[in-house]
Amino acid sequence: MLEWILLALIVLVVVILVAIFFGYYNRIISSSNRIDNAWSQIDVQLKKRADLVPNLVETVKGYAAHEKKAIEMVTTARERMVGAAGVKERMQAGTGLAAALKTIFALAENYPALRASENFKLLQEQLDGIESKIAYARQFYNDSSLAYNNAIKTVPGRWIAGRMGRTQERPYFEIPKAERAPVKVSF
């Protein structure tokens, strides 16, 4: 009788351990996938922004063609953005493009006709929207990284992550310095 109880207990413990292992294994894998998905969401927005730039440049040229310097700045920032590969570079190029776009919008203040144009207004709303979408997507990315890092650094996930060879913490996106500082505009 006693042996049977003992055996049942051992089986129970093994089952529980296996369940915990599977639970953590799946959690680590799925939260890692979520980070990758979060990044691709950011990337989609970065691409969309780059795609809107030529349209914006054309509109600005129609009203303020002689602002060559600002227009060129945006165009080169966009080219850098399109050419960039890898998470870090793309993020950096994205920040550069955001700064260049801010200059354009600040310049537009001097051109009432440009500001009043429907096309420009719509572009501005879209670019503003993309800006906040990038911020939100970055927030989701950081939340996902936090969940993943917690899962692989706390016990018992730590031991399981070690077995899986996943000991590396995933990085967070810092808010770039350029975005924290007030925008400088030179005329």
Partner: protein, 300 residues
């Protein structure tokens, strides 16, 4: 303190909701049982089975087509990509923050400040905002309100509330049937000779159930809904990281809404703030009092 992730929270939510739905389901089955016992004891099992199958079918239908019905009842129109670009951007941005696909966005013509979410899962969800909300709320406030609705979608509240609405409606139909049949069979006493005391007891229980089941299911519905509202407020703040936006939106609702929005009672729990006010609100309100919600938000 370790922060519980959204996903743990959602899992916990799903379990809690199942626990809360059990009493409702039990009441409905009890009603079926009593009806079966009184009218056709020989076919008891058949009647109970039939009732459960009927209810499941109804649940499936409202699961699949419920959102369309609700949208047309509310006269919601799809948001215009140019005119409402700002609203669409807000919805898309906050769904990115929540990590769900962007729901379809609708606008309802109404002076009142309100919003709603319907659908069954984040892949098939719709969010609507009244024109009153678009006109009266600033960006931070609108983000708070939309964040609240996005949270309902992400937390699977919309599916749960649709399911509960089916149960509540079913309980109401059953007890109506039961009460009516009592009314008609009062005169004839032929049944009493057959079952004796047991039959009288069954009729008594049936009567009590018929009267109280609709009330009880409504109470549970309101209770679940209120919990979900607090949770959605909190999740909205987790998305926007700005409690004051939502709090001041609620304040505006408190000051401007008349509580006379033209919507049916059965879909009132889908809205951001109670579209109708009634004297029984303390017990049956699907939303916590606005003052309390503001207070909780300001304490965050």
């Amino acid at each position: 303190m370790q922060k519980t992730s959204f996903y743990d929270q959602i899992g916990k939510n799903k379990r809690n909701s199942v626990l809360l739905m059990l009493p409702i389901a039990a009441l409905v089955v009890a009603l079926l049982y009593v009806i079966g016992y009184i009218f056709a004891p020989d076919l008891l099992i058949f009647i109970v089975m039939f009732g459960i199958i009927w209810m499941t079918l109804q649940a499936i239908v409202s699961y699949k087509y419920g959102d369309r019905a609700v949208l047309s009842v509310m006269k919601a129109k799809p948001a215009d990509p140019v005119k409402h670009a700002y609203l669409i951007n807000t919805v898309e941005g906050l769904s990115l923050a929540a990590g769900i696909p962007a729901p379809k966005t609708y606008v309802i013509e109404s002076e009142e400040i309100n919003a709603f979410a319907v659908g069954n899962d984040p892949q098939h969800a719709s969010i609507g905002v009244t024109t009153g909300a678009l006109e009266n709320l600033n960006r931070a406030e609108l983000e708070g309100v939309v964040g609240h609705e996005i949270s309902h979608v992400r937390n699977y509240d919309i599916r749960l509330m649709t399911m509960i609405a089916v149960f509540v409606g079913f309980a109401a139909i059953l007890s109506y049937l039961l009460l009516r049949s009592f009314w008609f069979s009062r005169g004839s006493s032929e049944r009493e000779g057959r079952g004796g005391g047991l039959a009288i007891l069954a009729i008594l229980i049936g009567l009590i159930l018929a009267v109280f089941a609709p009330i009880a299911t409504r109470l549970v519905q309101a209770m679940i809904s209120r919990r979900r509202e607090y949770l959605a407020d909190a999740s909205s703040v987790e998305l926007t990281r700005y409690p004051e936006g939502l709090a001041s939106a609620l304040e505006k609702i408190k000051n401007t809404n008349t509580g006379k929005m033209n919507v049916s009672e059965s879909i009132s729990h889908l809205f951001f703030s109670d579209p109708k006010k009634s004297p029984l609100d303390n017990l049956f309100a699907t939303h916590p009092p606005i003052e309390k919600r503001i207070e909780v938000l300001r304490a965050m």
